[in-house]
């Protein structure tokens, strides 16, 4: 499934300083549909090159990292259980840098 992933607020530094990644991701861990949970584990393995603890804590993003699916706060769509669809845009922004 084609997805656009965007990293901001300093998170781009963890993935080769590239903000926008057009990726192709299939269902993870035997799920029949791709969820945010599956996407996060894919991102951790495939995109994050350094200091993964700045991005993840346990099986979710670390507190202070905002997630938007198609410009909508993922807290409204079920966070980890949010189902992803073709051409979705997922944005990760760290709130933890700078003032």
């Amino acid at each position: 499934m084609q997805l656009t992933l965007e990293f901001g607020g300093g998170l781009e530094l963890l993935c080769d300083s590239k903000k926008i990644h057009n990726v192709n991701v299939e269902q993870q861990n035997g799920e029949d549909k791709l969820t945010m949970k599956g996407l996060l584990s894919w991102v951790k393995t495939n995109l994050i090159k350094e200091r993964p603890e700045m991005f993840m804590k346990g099986d979710t993003v670390r507190p202070g990292v905002l997630v938007l699916v198609n410009d909508c706060d993922w807290e409204l769509s079920g966070q980890l259980s949010t189902l992803l669809e073709e051409k979705d845009v997922v944005v990760f922004i760290s709130t933890l840098h700078g003032g």
């Binding site: 901001g8 607020g9 300093g10 530094l13 200091r51 603890e53 700045m54 670390r62 507190p63 202070g64 905002l66 938007l68 198609n70 410009d71 909508c72 706060d73 807290e75 409204l76 769509s77 079920g78 949010t82 189902l83 669809e85 944005v91 922004i93 760290s94 709130t95 933890l96 840098h97 700078g98 003032g99």
Partner: protein, 349 residues
């Protein structure tokens, strides 16, 4: 397509548009336009309720190029326009002289100057003190540099504000910052700062009062606002900020927020409700004999540090005579890489 997302949640305020944000403060699910309005109105209400400004005031906005001060500059100039505050707004930036960090963030501030149409004044450590942070770090290493940075920045902002003939200095400290500082001051037993850090206006007895219009504004909302409005801000960490102790406090606050978002407001409230017991001695304010800046000692902290630097004894003035935990813990936690803290000194009140 029939999926969970075809069941779109509507905004609980207008019921017209799709909800885009879960507000941490109220847990309301609201659309972008209602979010902008609530966000701006709450700051307006805080400004009015606390009489932060008087018409004709010259107001310096401490601008680092980061998210908080960028959103603050944007929102303040908008409110000033919409509600006719009659303020003269200025951007005020401090150039610490940190290659690869401050020079990049200052470029952001220069762009903001154009985007928001606000005049900009930059004061530099080099001009004020004769030293850049790069030069100081070369001399003293990475151990105590945040002490220098924090003390120097505070005074640099005051001097820049004086240059601008500003009546008020506003900073972008947000609710998360203030909750974190309340916690740190409790951990340090620093009663004087505990009561100071949670008040919306400080330094009314000093040369220029400082205000924090974002005192109750959640960091999440500031970042969401900047994202939705596509505001241009800088988000790289200070290369000299190994402030691990503060980092742990931040992480703790964020963990609490995830479980119960109200926790941030409750911690601020605790800070506000602490009263100083009569047997706690508050330091008396005077002026520095050397440079005239406010100081409770013969020389102000910046002059003590500078004297050490200039005499080649940079350790001078770094220890604190006050009981409780000083900067030592913050700066000596070797090996623990700070991964979340704000740039050093930016949170000192």
């Amino acid at each position: 397509m029939e999926g969970k997302r075809s069941k779109v949640r509507m905004c609980c305020l207008c019921n017209q548009s799709r909800a885009s944000l879960n507000r941490p403060k109220t847990l309301q699910q609201i659309c972008r336009d209602c979010f902008y309005l609530s966000f701006e109105n709450e700051i307006h209400q805080l400004i009015i309720d606390n009489h932060l400004f008087t018409p004709g005031d010259r107001v310096a906005i401490g601008a680092s190029g980061g998210k908080d001060s960028t959103v603050l500059a944007y929102v303040l100039s908008k409110l000033n326009r919409v509600h006719n505050y009659g303020l003269n707004l200025f951007l005020l930036s401090v150039d610490e002289g940190i290659t690869g960090y401050r020079d990049d963030s200052l470029e952001t501030v220069h762009r903001n100057q154009v985007q928001f149409g606000l005049p900009l004044k930059v004061v530099s450590y080099k001009d004020l003190y004769g030293w850049t942070m790069d030069e100081i770090v070369k001399l003293i290493g990475l151990k105590n540099n945040c002490t220098f940075c924090g003390v120097f920045r505070r005074q640099a902002l005051d001097r820049g504000a004086a240059f601008l003939k500003a009546d008020k200095l506003v900073t972008g400290h947000n609710a998360d910052d203030i909750a974190e500082t309340v916690l740190l001051n409790i951990l340090r037993g620093d009663i004087a700062r505990l009561s100071r850090c949670s008040s919306i206006i400080t330094g009314e007895d000093g040369p220029i009062p400082r205000c924090k219009p974002f005192k109750y504004t959640y960091e999440k909302e500031i970042v969401m606002y900047a994202y939705f409005k596509r505001l241009d801000y800088f988000s790289t960490e200070c290369i000299y900020s190994p402030n691990a102790y503060r980092g742990f406090a931040r992480e703790f606050i964020k963990d609490l927020e995830r479980i119960r978002p109200r926790a941030i407001l409750d911690i601020i409230k605790s800070g506000e409700n602490f009263r100083i017991s009569t047997n706690t001695k508050m330091p008396e304010q005077g002026t520095c004999e050397r440079c005239g800046y406010i100081s409770s000692q013969k020389w102000c902290k910046a002059c003590v540090l500078l004297d050490g630097l200039n005499r080649g004894l940079p350790k001078l003035g770094i220890g604190r005579s006050r009981p409780g935990i000083g900067c030592k813990e913050e700066n000596e936690s070797r090996g623990v890489k700070s991964i979340e803290s704000k740039q050093c000194g930016s949170l000192d009140f």
